[in-house]
């Protein structure tokens, strides 16, 4: 008898599969199993079945359990994750298991709450409504509903009566009704289907272009200015794709809790299709349920954040990546993948179209569009006919006086909006009261004891907090260096601006929206409700408010201080700042009222602001691309970053130097820089270092990494540091 040996992927940091005996279980490839691993028990996925192992059979252990009643992971997921593991230099087993919802990574059997759908039996139909006495109103109501529909689900019954369970049970016992177990989340009450807006010529042209090639791999860049109606184009594309019953659509969004509006629009415009959300804020059970709905093909539309890109979708016909430039698509730990890039790879493998939408596409994407690798579709007009692009002006803070960070021009504009009953948004990308606590007597600044950063003053809580590591301490009574007690919070954060405005404009209703004020669950959605209801005059917000929101009564956007970003050493900063300011500016004047954007800066003649004033993304991007080409930065070069950290920097230095030496021996085609320290030299008590590798082709970089990473895994100095490889890094 030949034994069956299973190749199993486990979530352990070793780049190999593990051999186990099947232990008499009927195991399918793609199924989940529990295996003994050292002293632990681990969940694994069966990747392959083989006849013989390199390990002697009597040394092999058997699996402990197989979850045979679960749907197996499909071949496509294996192939996709294999590709990702190879490309991002991450152990395959870890990549596979990380793509599963948390529940499926636990060894406990998965229990999903059972849901049923109900239908009348022939005997129920025969008995008829007349068989139920008139005073049993609930039963009659439920029975009527069942007469009209089959497979009525629990949510629909619950909508009819809160005591439905008892009534249904009684009728079930009478043999009138049968129940069928279903995999269905409580259906969200279908909202009143909203009216289908007419498309403007730009939108119509974009739609037709994409619909003309739906059965082949074709990446499209939908470049539409803010408020130009990209979402409506998505809706039409989805509707068109879903007319085929054997189809699913994947929609990726940057941060789901920041875009409740988008979800609501999808629900109201496409009420007939089962929609599943996937993001990290879902409870474990809900996420698993939605994942299963997607995997089974039942969910027709899957909307999710970057993690959703790995969801098994057997009938996938279209992928949409909204705000494709957003940096939240990049995973910053574990396997450092870029969800947009994986989505592109996925579309290519399935031979389906993919639409990348943005008002300010990433330069990588823009370069691909202008060199005709992607189809370029442009929406140049705001979708609401009367809506105009906002008027953008800079206020030179180097000339005029500011009071507590506010120029008189901006203050006047705020007063003006207040008098007209319109809303204003002040954008300041710094939460807390002040970014620095300064001793004026000796110039000591409160440092984080664990990072190379300054502590931020949170005045109301009388605390200093590190925004990098979460360290908190009480504000000191006196300067630890010289003893002076009169310490000064220096610079401006959201809390300080809130306090200043409350004093200057006591009649205004001011709302601060930042990570601190929205910590409570549902806090943000409650705030957004208040904003829509017109209960807020002035919004003070960080980047949380910059994305996607559509406040019709908002006509003024003030940008407080972004100058520090103008002089950052990171070559991507201008690109990101431009995108961010375009997004923020786009919040103003989206409906029929004209919008105004005032930017406070000491450098109003900076090229970035010139481009912003004319809202000319194309010209500015071409300029930035030109710069990148001269400097040989991405997208004209391919980068990989080896990061390492340890308590002792010498260990880091030794490891990185060894890595650099090895890399230089492996290839001459890749430029290997010397080890350097990142901007944050110390983080959470760890000394950090990094090694940058730059190549002219993706392939030569991949060849280097394929040889270098296994070598690093085996080397002695690697054991003393924590290290990771970041392919196509976004941050340095």
């Amino acid at each position: 008898m030949t034994l069956t040996i299973l190749k199993i992927a486990l979530d352990v940091p070793l780049d190999c599969l593990f051999d186990y005996l099947d232990g008499g279980f009927t195991v399918t490839i793609g199924g989940r199993v529990v295996v003994p691993f050292g002293r632990r028990k681990l969940v694994g996925i069966v990747v392959d079945r083989i006849d013989s192992s390199e390990i002697a059979t009597d040394k092999l252990k058997a699996i402990l359990h197989a979850f045979t009643d679960e749907p197996a992971l499909d071949h496509e997921s294996f192939a996709l994750l294999r590709f990702c593991a190879d490309y991002y230099q991450y152990p395959y087993g870890q990549a596979l298991l990380a793509a599963l919802p948390t529940r499926l990574r636990q060894i406990e059997p998965v229990v999903l709450r059972k849901q049923f759908a109900y239908s009348l039996t022939p005997s129920g139909l025969l008995a008829g409504l007349e068989a139920i006495p008139a005073r049993q109103a609930v039963k009659r109501r439920l029975f009527s509903a069942l007469l009209e529909n089959i497979d009525v689900d629990e949510a629909a019954l619950a909508a009819l009566s809160s005591t439905w369970r008892k009534a249904i049970q009684a009728m079930q016992e009478a043999g009138w009704i049968n129940a069928k177990q279903v995999l269905a989340p409580p259906r969200i009450q279908a909202q009143v289907p909203s009216v289908k807006p007419d498309l403007n010529p730009d939108q119509a042209q974009a739609l037709h272009a994409i619909l003309a090639q739906v059965d082949v791999f074709k990446p499209w860049l939908l470049h539409g200015i803010t408020g130009s109606g990209k979402t409506e184009v998505y809706m039409r594309l989805i509707l068109s794709a879903l007319t085929n019953n054997e189809s699913q659509v994947l929609v990726l969004v940057p941060e789901i809790n920041l875009t409740p509006q988008l979800i609501a629009r999808f629900r109201s415009r496409l009420p007939d299709f089962q929609l599943a959300l996937l993001h990290s804020n879902l409870g474990h059970s809900e996420r698993l349920l939605n994942w299963r709905l997607a995997q089974s093909g039942q969910a027709r539309i899957v909307i999710g954040t970057r993690l959703a890109v790995f969801t098994p979708l057997p009938k996938l016909r279209l992928i949409i990546v909204d705000e494709e430039h957003d940096s939240s698509y990049k995973q910053q730990d574990g396997m450092r993948y870029h969800a947009r890039d994986i989505a592109l790879m996925r579309a290519k493998r399935r031979n389906i179209p993919i639409v990348l939408g943005s008002a300010t596409p990433a330069l990588e994407t823009w370069n691909n569009a202008t060199t005709h690798k992607y189809g370029l579709l442009t929406l140049n007009n705001r979708a609401v006919a009367k809506a105009m692009l906002p008027n953008i002006r800079c206020i030179n803070t180097a000339l005029g006086q500011t009071y507590e960070g506010l120029s008189s021009t901006l203050l006047e504009a705020l007063r003006d909006r207040l008098a007209r009953g319109e809303q204003s948004l002040l954008f300041i990308n710094r939460r807390g009261y002040a970014p620095v606590l300064l001793c004026s007597a000796c110039h000591w600044m409160a440092p984080c004891p664990r990072c190379s950063s300054r502590l931020v003053v949170h005045l109301r809580q009388r605390q200093l907090r590190c925004h990098h590591c979460g360290h908190e301490e009480k504000i000191p009574q006196q300067c630890p260096s010289c003893g002076n007690a009169d310490l000064h919070p220096t610079g401006h954060g959201t809390q300080r601006l809130e306090q200043t405005l409350a004093a200057l404009l006591p009649q205004a209703r001011i709302l601060r929206v930042d990570r601190d004020s929205t910590r409570r669950k549902h806090a943000l959605s409650d705030m957004l409700t208040d904003i829509y209801a017109g209960k807020v005059d002035i919004l003070i917000g960080t980047q949380m408010l910059a994305k996607g929101h559509d406040f019709p009564n908002l006509t003024l956007v003030g940008v407080i201080d972004t100058d520090s970003a103008l002089f950052s050493p990171d070559f991507r900063t201008s690109e990101h700042l431009f995108a961010q300011l375009m997004q923020v500016a786009g919040r103003a004047g989206r409906a029929d009222k004209a919008g105004e954007v005032l930017i406070q800066t000491a450098h109003p003649d900076h090229a970035l602001f010139n481009a912003l004033r004319t809202q000319d993304y194309v010209a500015y991007s071409d300029e930035l691309l030109h710069e990148r080409k001269i400097c040989q930065f991405p997208p004209f070069a391919y980068l990989a970053l080896l990061r390492a950290e340890a308590n002792d920097f010498n260990q880091v230095q030794r490891f990185l130097q060894q890595a650099a030496d090895s890399a230089r021996l492996i290839t001459q085609n890749v430029m290997v820089y010397d080890p350097t320290r990142p901007h944050m030299q110390r983080l959470k008590n760890m000394e950090r270092g990094q090694l940058l590798m730059q190549a002219n082709s993706r392939q030569s970089l991949q060849i280097l990494l394929r040889n270098l990473v296994p070598e690093l895994r085996g080397c002695n100095s690697a054991a003393k540091v924590r290290w990771s490889v970041d392919v196509d890094p976004l941050e340095f």
């Binding site: 004026s440 007597a441 009480k474 000191p476 000064h488 919070p489």
Partner: protein, 103 residues
């Protein structure tokens, strides 16, 4: 804060309260009151009599700040304290007081 810890720095000054700023608090919550004192007197210098006039910035902290916040401009007071630079980059001096007595 050691070594020269005991070096002398003591100023006793009498004068009229001038401008008083609103009571404020340090970030750690210590009350702080700043005001200025106009001093006028006649003094002997090189055996010759002369007039002296000066305005001195004064800071009181903690309990003393709370107790002093009701003083009115024009009140004649005597304050005792030490001198310190207003800030690292300033050459102005400020009198930090430990005692205030209304005369």
């Amino acid at each position: 804060m050691s070594g020269q810890g005991l070096a002398t720095n003591l100023l006793v000054l009498q004068g009229e309260v001038e401008q008083i700023a609103a009571l404020r608090y340090t970030p750690a919550g210590i009350p702080l009151l700043s005001f200025s004192v106009r001093h006028t007197s006649e003094q002997i210098e090189a055996n010759m009599q002369r007039k002296v006039e000066c305005d001195v910035s004064v800071i009181a902290m903690s309990d003393l700040a709370l107790r002093s916040q009701d003083i009115k401009p024009g009140v004649n007071i005597r304050v005792t304290g030490f001198l310190a630079r207003r800030s690292l980059k300033s050459t102005q001096l400020v009198l930090h007081i430990n005692a205030l007595e209304i005369i």
